[in-house]
Amino acid sequence: MNPGQDSRGNPGQDSRGAAIDLRSISKAYGSFKALDGVSLHIKAGEFMTLLGPSGSGKTTTLNVVAGFTEASSGALEVGGKSVVGVPAHKRNIGVVFQHYALFPHMTVSRNVAYPLALRGVAGAERERRVRQALDMVKMADFGHRFPSELSGGQQQRVALARAIVFDPPLLLMDEPLGALDKKLREWLQLEIKRIHRELGTTFVYVTHDQEEALVLSDRIAVFNRGRIEQIGTGRELYDEPATLFVGKFIGDSTVLRGAAAISGGETAIEIAGQKVATAKRLANGGSPVMLLRPEKLTLARRGADGDGRNRLTGRIGEAIYLGSGSKYEVDLADGSKAIVRSTLEADNFAIGDEVEVLFAGADVKLLADDDKADLTLT
């Protein structure tokens, strides 16, 4: 998370961006509900990422905000004004597409000047703003080129310049880095972050890449099956996932499933004859599962002292050296997998080693089981 920006505060006080309010937005295509009651408030100047697998409704939400798709029902306000029924070309919202969508018959300069020409900005003022926008994306030397003469990353930077040159209070980005390779993507992520900081505009960013979402966003809305599962900072989503889907989608996780026994405030789950417990219980009932983050798990040789922690036996299935530590996949007795991250100082294990996985009951996230959480990940 960006430490300079407290997302719980109000970055919108002196921001040039617009706040966005979606209330119970639904969109149906025949009997298929692409969006099922999506409500989301985005603060002025905030960097909000809509994260989810393909078909989860994140792009549909973006299209509704942009005006490309009309919602079946619900209210939508941008900058305090309802934009329901307002056509896309009158919304004054910048949009960056995954496929760049530069006009191939215009030079880079003319592409960027296009929205200015439509707004009656002419002459020296138009030139100045085109140059300024191209400067911001570091493409000032490419004004005379045609899009076909540029690489994918360069084209996307020009598209970004074109989307911000008319100072829209809101910028929408639909998987803008999806077609680029990893190195370029990481560099452009930082560029987008810098531009967001410099502009102070509200950014809404769609991606299916949770790492990208963590790098960029003030807050993240996690989409699944046309609904928002959880809204929060990256840290909140990682540390306190509200649903099993969020827990599995953000970061690595181990999910323990088994026959549950609830007594008082304690929940115990039996996995292949071994019992693990935590002093928590599900508030709303439902069948409980345990979710554990990789750094909360410790590996030990068989028969080592567990200090009273929960213990599960298993065998190392995969060992990955990461430089800053190691990542292990442990095959547990019931056939499921545990993912463990260990630090450099910890013991090393090899594939096939018989181990015990240890964890404290307090580190367990107890969540309601959801069989759909698995299906949507495939």
Partner: protein
């Protein structure tokens, strides 16, 4: 794929034969147009410019040429506008009704020209359109429209409609988007449609023979009338002129297009 020398030689020979077969009948008119005698016999005798002179000075020929030029110009513009709009509309329609409508609009290409001619003639007799400029323009536009429709549709098929979404997001309404984004990008199809429409009208003969009268003749009608009446080598002179004109037009167009494409890269 590597070719054996023998295969290559045979292929070259076949290509040459086909090329001669395709072009020779057209080229025959060139020597015939310089014939000294009033005959269409081949090979021609002597050398003279008199048939070219006749084409320019004889009002039968010069008027029919100007008529054809006038009709074809109006038709090409009319058919291009209508055909482009039709192609655009069909592209944006639901698949099923669009296919039906498209087939309907392409029927003039499939229906035998004579059948169409009889129909048009019957209607024109009642509406007094025989031998009028309007009559020619309407009839030829029906015939030229499918060519524009096909050419523009082919371009729209590869046109990236997401560019229109992008234009809308930048503030362009539907008309502005069409003018500044869609039309420039489908311009090659519109232009080739225009050329086809012009050519279709300019050398249309079947329908024209039915709806012509002594006051309004197009060039193909005049050629046909002349050749059925007597062996006038002016026909060959006209043919030669048209041959050079079209060669220049197409060649020039290809050069221009090639240069533009090079400039873009």
């Amino acid at each position: 794929m590597e070719m054996k020398p023998l295969t290559r030689a045979i292929l070259g020979l076949v290509c040459l034969l086909v090329a001669i077969w395709l072009v020779a009948p057209t080229l025959v008119v060139v020597p015939m147009s310089f014939n000294e005698n009033k005959s269409l016999a081949f090979p021609p005798q002597g050398f003279s410019w008199q048939w070219y002179q006749n084409f320019v000075t004889n009002p039968d020929w010069s008027n029919s040429f100007l008529n054809s030029l006038k009709v074809a110009s109006i038709v090409s513009v009319l058919a291009t506008v209508l055909g482009t709009l039709a192609a655009f509309g069909l592209d944006r329609m639901k698949a099923r009704p669009a296919n039906l409508l498209r087939m309907l609009m392409l029927t003039p290409m499939v229906v035998p020209g004579v059948v169409l001619a009889i129909g048009i003639y019957a209607v024109y007799l009642d509406t007094r359109l025989v031998g009028t400029l309007l009559g020619f323009v309407l009839a030829h536009t029906i015939l030229a429209l499918p060519f524009v429709l096909i050419a523009v549709s082919a371009n729209l098929e590869v046109f990236d409609r997401r560019l229109e979404t992008a234009a809308a997001s930048l503030g362009a309404g539907a008309l502005t988007t069409f003018r500044t984004v869609t039309l420039p990008l489908i311009a090659p199809g519109v232009l080739s449609g225009l050329l086809f429409a012009f050519a279709t009208s300019f050398d249309e003969i079947v329908v024209s023979l039915f709806i012509t009268n002594p006051y309004l003749k197009t060039l193909p009608v005049q050629i046909f009338a002349s050749i059925t009446r007597d062996a006038d080598p002016t026909v060959a002179a006209v043919g030669t002129i048209l041959l050079f004109a079209t060669t220049m037009l197409i060649g020039g167009g290809m050069l221009l297009l090639g240069r533009e494409r090079k400039g873009r890269q």
